[in-house]
Amino acid sequence: MSGVLVHTDRMPICWVRVPDALSQDLDAETLVLAPGAAEALHLNDTASLVWALLATPRSLEALRQAIASTYDVDLVRAAQDVEELLLQLESAGVVRRVQE
């Protein structure tokens, strides 16, 4: 799965929150509700950092750099984790892909 989120042939892909998604920061964690959804998502502290960054469009590279520097993990592990999270958030309808 790694690599599928990075870029298209022409332009890098960025990620951003869906405009009408609701979210509430609860200390280090976040609850998120997709537009029209009945069930909320519960993001842990690390996922909440990604969610906070996605208030504006971010590339996978930018996100993994942020995670790696904040949590002192290697870039490969951070990239895998961020990719998986982004796919989950996209599947849940709370983030979307945009061109950089």
Binding site: L22, Q24, D27, E29, A38, L41, H42, V50, I67, L89
Partner: protein
């Protein structure tokens, strides 16, 4: 129709044997019209009819009074305009503590123990939240087990029954409550040690969503209310094995200003395992 009772906003015209009418009256139901939905509940020898339709799903052998109480409760909760969370709720001086939990988790027992220790009875069934986040009392009769009745020093049911409904007044609950604000959200946990432990605010918010009866009516409204309450309340896990000791902890909590400690954020990257969890509110 032999009697009429109001539960939250719902009015029930009840056609039942006179003995049942008397029992309902003793449980503190109030007559009167609210302008809300009206129903006809007919109690027959082997079945209940709500608005002419047979009530299904009642466990075999359920006493008629218990069956009537279940129907009143389920119908009234389905029709309330408030955001409703399955929870026990007690209060002191306008400060309310809610402990959301599934059926059988001990909400009624803990609620009754709290009231016996002098806390205000708000509900043993549902946290009802208005749009301004104030709390609406839902002071239905509490259905208490023989064990709980013994533990709290209350009269026992007939030998053939394992539980009986108890009117709030029987617990010496105050008859009137003023304005209520939710100040504490507690997760119940059975433990050999009676103590308050940390709970993350995210878990508290999720619990208020997962345990909702009616979030699906308006998920966005439910989300705003549940997360708003979690953001503004103190949150903790109440670990206990003895309801009276737990009630004493709750009484101290509601009487004192300091909020319980909360979790610190965890370390490391743990996205795949816990990053996204779906609620299963039902």
């Amino acid at each position: 129709v032999s009697t009429e009772v109001t539960v939250l906003d719902s009015v029930f015209l009840i056609d039942a044997p006179r003995v049942l009418e008397g029992e309902l009256g003793l449980l503190g139901f109030t007559p009167g019209r609210t302008g809300g939905p009206q129903h006809l509940l007919q109690v027959r020898q082997k079945e209940l009819l709500l608005d002419g339709r047979r009530v299904e799903g009642m466990p075999p052998g359920t006493p008629a009074l218990d069956a009537v109480l279940m129907v009143l409760n389920a119908t009234a909760l389905a029709e309330t305009d408030c955001y409703a969370v399955h929870a026990g709720v007690v209060a002191k001086n306008g400060r309310a503590a809610a402990f959301p939990a599934l059926s059988g988790a001990g909400k009624s027992t803990l609620t009754a123990a709290c009231v016996r220790l002098g806390l205000d009875y708000v509900s043993d069934e549902a946290l009802l939240v208005r749009d301004d986040r104030s709390i609406r009392p839902y002071r239905k009769p509490l259905c208490l087990s023989r064990w709980t009745l013994e533990r709290l020093g209350l009269p026992l049911p007939p030998a053939e029954l394992s539980e009986r409904p108890v009117a709030p007044s029987e617990l010496s609950a105050a008859s009137e409550l003023g304005s209520l604000q939710l100040t504490h959200v507690l997760r119940l946990e059975r433990s050999p040690v009676n103590q308050l432990m940390p709970l993350s605010r995210g878990d508290a918010g999720r619990m208020l969503l997962e345990r909702s009866f009616n979030h699906f009516h308006d998920p966005a409204r439910a989300f705003r209310l549940a997360t708003g309450l979690a953001a503004g309340a103190s949150v903790a896990t109440l670990a206990y094995d003895d309801p009276l000791r737990a009630a004493a902890l709750l009484a101290d909590l509601l009487s004192s200003a300091p909020a319980p400690a909360r979790d610190q954020p965890g370390d490391g990257v743990a996205l795949p395992a816990r990053a996204v969890r779906r609620t299963d509110a039902s």
